[in-house]
Subunit: 239 residues, 2 copies
């Protein structure tokens, strides 16, 4: 199951069999968690990091009035809290949006791996940086794009990210979020998120039913979103 993560790493560098083994061995345990649980609570001290092997997670920050913002969605292959390895506590919760399977990697193991295999340290650092590029793009969306464009952008991004790890169909992917959760990604109310989806449907751009999102007009959607996958850094990088 860790394969999905290894494949993600291989998009950046070749993995030696030794490096691959080190990562496989680092996963001391896999754990199943149900939807709508808090996997990591903001501020708690961390001794392990979690690789998401199946399902959807989100980083979540909330305000006193109970409103929350979902900062970044994670899909299979993603390290959910690699930043926890250096920070030791997080400024946000990590919550499950669907049933999940996660791999547990103790920080000592990460420590060993990164000391012993500088190339792996480098890829992981690099992935942390690509993660924050996603957050930057979100800030651009929240600050400057309209509701319609923002939602279109999110769908474009998710398609590309899922496709990159082999979790997307020709023009669709499983999308487990409720409209409430979707609205929390986009900084909208549920009501307006609902109306925005309907507008995308009305324009013949997407279908969304029974947790399945189908993109009917990819370039139309990308146009509205002003989507450019550049920020996802999906191409192999020079080492």
């Amino acid at each position: 199951m860790i394969t999905v993560h290894l494949n993600k790493l291989r998009r950046r560098i070749e993995l030696s069999t030794e490096e691959e083994r080190a990562i496989r061995d680092a996963v001391v345990e896999t754990r199943k968690i149900r939807a709508d649980e808090v996997l990591i609570r903001s501020g708690e001290e961390l001794k392990s990091s979690f690789v998401l092997l199946e399902g959807w997670l989100a980083r979540s920050k909330d305000l006193a009035d109970g409103e929350r913002q979902l900062i970044e969605l994670h899909v299979a292959g993603d390290f959910a809290d690699l930043h926890g390895f250096t920070l030791k506590r997080l400024d946000h919760d990590v919550v499950t949006l669907s049933d999940c399977l996660i791999g547990v990697i103790p920080h000592e193991r990460l420590q060993e791996i990164t000391e012993r295999y500088p190339r792996l340290a480098w890829v992981y650092w690099s992935y942390s940086n690509a993660d924050s590029a996603i957050t930057r793009e979100l800030a651009l969306s929240l600050g400057q794009r309209s509701a319609l464009s923002r939602m279109a952008h999110l769908f474009c991004e998710l398609y590309v990210r899922l496709d990159a790890v082999g979790r997307a169909g020709a023009d669709s992917f499983g999308f487990p979020l409720t409209q409430r959760e979707l609205s929390e990604c986009l900084g909208l109310t549920v009501v307006h998120a609902n109306r925005t989806i309907q507008e995308l449907r009305r324009r013949g751009l997407v279908e969304l039913e029974s947790k399945q999102l189908r993109i009917l007009d990819r370039s139309g959607l990308e146009g509205i979103a002003q989507f450019d996958p550049y920020y996802l850094y999906l191409n192999r990088l020079p080492v």
Copy 2:
């Protein structure tokens, strides 16, 4: 001048004289740049990273219609594009908001430093992660806070960050941004940014004139902002 950067690092770990020397030697050149220049353009290939020694920089992303979002402000001591070291090209511009003095560190030097001094690699990784925490907080602001709260939050954050590097007075700091730039940080129009400042002034929370921001009621401002400096990770971390 690199001292301000070294001091920032010392907030996280002790620096050995050898480590300090390595960083000092890595700065092969310092460069003066005037306000409103593009220091790094999105997509261009990078061979060096820049430490900001004096002045203000911002990461900036823009949309086709010319609207732009300032994603993160940088002040003295910050590494402006440490993520460029692993990513080799950026998904955003880096622009000057005031006259600046920057230190140039070639990537080869960074490579040597991080290989030779794993603790430094670790602090730099850690700072990259703290950087993205700031971007996350921005996403929370843009998604969930009102204009007033957002602006209050930005002022609280900047005070704390500047204070941490000794660039703030008892209750004030130099703030070189125009209202247009401020509005671009907050995802607002200039007009509304202006009205929002006036509301903060009217409530006796801040003064802003001749590029100087004075906080008259710190706890009042923090209250409106729901500001909690936790996400800035200013305390020394366990290594």
